[in-house]
């Protein structure tokens, strides 16, 4: 039998996706603690709702859970139970395209790179949280690539919003 030929793969792709999953998880947690618009999106979600973003079949992942009235808590890489809403990238390359801002999240959905499992209405709220967080923490030139439309943010709103999220991430890390 012929052996499958070893091919070269980008050695940074998978670690980068792992890192970005962590960054997104922690940033969303922090953003839900300081940004009112994200809090308004989280508020109607059921208490304890668990959200997982992962690469299929068993790749890098992040897990968030609703805590309190408006908070999202980052639970790490493995869900303690079956999550309520799962956003699954079909391949690590597809996650890399999105996380390296070569493909917007909405474009990834349109290109069938992502599967959604669970209540769609909750998933849409979480996608809006992700978009809002990206619009605040990413430089405009990068956020424009990640979003379908860059929102009308004033410079102070963007600077202050981004700074508050970064500060909150740091605080959460120190607190453990």
């Amino acid at each position: 039998m012929m052996q499958a030929k070893r091919v070269r793969v980008n050695p940074f792709k998978r670690p980068y996706v792992v890192l970005m999953m962590e960054v997104i998880g922690r940033s969303l947690e922090a953003a839900s603690q300081v940004d009112e618009r994200i809090q308004n999106e989280v508020r109607p979600l059921p208490d304890g709702l668990m959200f997982e973003m992962k690469v299929m079949p068993d790749g890098p992942a992040l897990v968030l859970q609703k805590t309190g009235a408006t908070g999202l808590k980052y639970l790490g890489r493995r869900p303690p139970r079956k999550p309520d809403v799962v956003m699954k990238f079909k391949h690590v390359t597809h996650a890399f395209l999105v996380f390296s801002f070569q493909e917007a999240t909405a474009r990834a959905f349109a290109n069938d790179r992502i599967l959604l499992d669970g209540e769609i209405a909750y998933a849409m709220k979480l996608v809006r949280c992700l978009n809002r967080m990206e619009s605040l923490i990413l430089p405009k030139i990068i956020a424009e690539r990640a979003l379908k439309r860059y929102p009308n943010l004033s410079l102070p709103e963007k600077m202050l919003g981004g700074a508050r999220i970064y500060t909150q991430v740091a605080k959460n890390l120190i607190r453990g």
């Binding site: 069938d112 849409m124 996608v127």
Partner: protein, 394 residues
């Protein structure tokens, strides 16, 4: 090189045209099935449409084993279980759905239970849960609009829990879709108009949306042309079998297009209005179509303009300057709606429905934002945008 990507999938055999119903026994036989259960509703049976199917079986040497004709307008868990019980008791080996969206979705649910030998449908809810082919499943649409005969989704409600369960799987696609003019010949004009505008919206949103692709574009444009040409013919002469068949084909083609390219803001708003005010889906599509196209026009004018050829024909297209074609296409749709309002009293605005108050619009806008189809709209939509479209549609 462009990083564009698309997927296209439609394994449904389409059996269409004169004496199409008479092909069913042969098609069942090729799938080693001979004991079909017909699933339908009282309206379809009362209109005598099942008789056409039974007549097709009468001289074929194959019998219909049973007919379940009590599917309600909203498919529910209880009905699915009830039909699955009949299927098992009568030792059926295949399902023929004869009806509209509810009958087809219910039948898909039944097929899951009887194929998986299950009792709890919720175990199979979600995306890609089903892992193997189901029992032979045929669909005979009796409206020309939903396109459910070529879609891989079903939504079944669980009234006890107050939730709607979605099911998505390639295995939910029917084996065969049968399009026979006899099955839509007696459809009343206002339902013909509503369902045709549903199909028109499927095709237009598939063509103008983010997930458009060259293959679904071909289906979408053909569907638009067929509807634009044949809806007036059917309204002028409801028993025009050729025009009826054209509409049925258009509906299926639009279904193939949108199941591969998805839909957009018209559906986000329409799903929400339907849920809030219990208005028929096709009517909701008719209401929002031009207003959403106008919203998308500044960023998608070139693509919308291409549709003028299929909506109005070569002469109008050629005589309209390129930069005006988008606006003109929307105007053609507005004219079409005026005509449908004149002939069938089909409402064109939210206020004309008489079923919604203006203070409900913010809630409607919020519901639309949570609809999955909104992500495929070519232009981003926030709460203010959705509300602005609703106010224009008022």
């Amino acid at each position: 090189m462009s990083k564009s990507y698309y997927e296209f999938f439609c394994p449904v055999k389409v059996v269409a045209g004169s004496a199409a119903l008479e092909h069913i026994p042969y098609e069942l036989n090729t799938l080693s099935a001979s004991r079909p259960l017909i699933v339908t509703d009282k309206g379809v049976r009362g209109a005598g449409l099942i008789d056409h199917v039974l007549a097709a079986f009468a001289e074929s040497g194959m019998d219909v084993i049973d007919i379940y004709d009590d599917v309600p307008p909203d498919s529910s868990l209880k009905v699915v279980k009830d039909i699955a019980r009949v299927y098992r008791e009568k030792q059926c080996d295949s399902i023929i759905a004869v009806g509209g969206g509810s009958v087809i979705d219910t039948s898909k649910g039944v097929n899951i239970l009887v194929s998986e030998n299950g009792n709890d449908l919720s175990e199979f809810s979600g995306v890609g849960v089903l892992k193997k082919p189901l029992k032979p499943f045929f669909v005979i649409p009796t409206t020309a609009g939903t396109g459910s005969e070529v879609t891989m989704v079903a939504v079944i409600s669980d009234p006890d829990k107050g939730v709607k369960m979605p099911f998505t799987s390639y295995f939910l696609l029917p084996n065969v879709a049968i399009l026979d003019a006899r099955m839509t010949l007696t459809l009343p004009p206002h339902i013909t108009a509503m369902t045709a505008m549903d199909a028109m919206t499927h095709a237009i949103e598939a063509y103008t949306g983010m997930a458009k692709n060259p293959i679904s574009d071909a289906y979408a444009t053909s569907a638009i042309r067929k509807i634009a040409e044949n809806l007036p013919r059917v309204l002028n002469k409801p028993d025009d079998a050729d025009a009826r068949l054209e509409l049925a084909q258009a509906s299926t083609m639009a279904g193939i297009a949108f199941s591969n390219s998805m839909v957009g803001l018209v559906h986000s708003l329409g799903h929400s209005l339907g849920a809030l005010c219990h208005l028929p889906h096709g009517l909701c599509m008719n209401l929002f179509l031009p207003y959403v196209l106008e919203y998308n026009l500044p960023e998608r004018g070139d693509v919308i303009g291409e549709l003028l050829l299929y909506l109005a024909g070569a002469d109008v297209y050629a005589h309209t300057p390129a930069h005006e074609r988008g606006k003109k296409a929307v105007q053609v749709i507005r004219d079409m709606r005026d005509e449908l309002n004149h002939r069938c009293k089909l409402p064109r605005t939210l206020s004309e429905t008489g079923k919604i108050t203006r203070d409900q619009l913010p809630k409607l806008a919020q519901m639309a934002l949570d609809d999955g189809s909104i992500i495929f709209n070519p232009v981003e939509v926030d709460l203010d945008d959705a509300l602005a479209v609703l106010n224009r549609a008022w």
